[in-house]
Amino acid sequence: MDAKLAQKVQQGNREAFAQLVLKHGAAARRVCKTILDNDQDADDAAQDGFLAALTKIGTYDPERPFGPWLMRVVVNAARDLARRRKVRIVEEISTDTASEVPGPEVETHRAVLGEALNNALKQLPDREATAVVLYDVEGYSHREVANILEIPTGTARSDVHKARRKLREIMHAWQEN
């Protein structure tokens, strides 16, 4: 199904591309949200990912699954944006030393488990967080996760395992507090 749509996109079919965006958009945005700090950046990165996929759709092999191919492009777009954001933040700090140091942020108690878990995800290394989301949320296999993240399958398996353990620890500590 996806492969046929992708083939139509290769022939310039706009509607087929729209169907692929509708089908994979939520997953792409979730994965970008794992890598980036806010929803706006995540959506920007997901959009960049889809446009990059459209630009290089000619390189997609219809004999292979479309999801991992797309997700690889999307993850790279998210990482690119994350790098640009970090550079921008560093530049802002280094060139704005005269400004007042902001006061400590007031921690609000998070009543919603989802918010706490989202916060816990941000504490994980980018690759581990992405691996566990791709595996446990998006349903990709270890091999596909490895392919998307461009790492060996054993490393993907290890990343998922470590991420789960850390998430449980963080959530456990959060629940005790």
Binding site: G12, R14, F17, A18, V21, L22, G25, A26, R29, R30, K33, T34, D39, A42, D43, A46, Q47, F50, L51, L54, T55, L113, G114, E115, A116, L117, N118, L121, V132, V133, Y135, D136, V137, G139, H142, R157, V160, H161, R164, L167
Partner: protein, 117 residues
Amino acid sequence: MTESGKKDQSLGAELAVALAVNDDEAFLQRVMASADERGLFNEPELWDVLEMWARPGLAVAATAAILFAGAFLARGETEQPMASIAEGLSSEVAATEMAEPAPPNPESMLAVAFAIE
């Protein structure tokens, strides 16, 4: 503890809630608008252009080839210089046809060609 080879359904469901996104339609619209804005669907591929030009192009090429051959054979009999063909093809009608972005009209080109003779 879930085995590393199996999906952790519970964690997956909780993460899905944590990472929930909304308004898929709005996201679709912004992606499509951006793709349109960048002209990612508008630029015809090389093969599309060639296909568009193929039929009239072949007709013109065949006609030109026949005329060229005819003129070449007739040259000895009439001593008509080959330059006259070039003059004919550079006539106002031919020049107009060649300046158009659309493929040349075979009928116009034939008319120009026959006018030479």
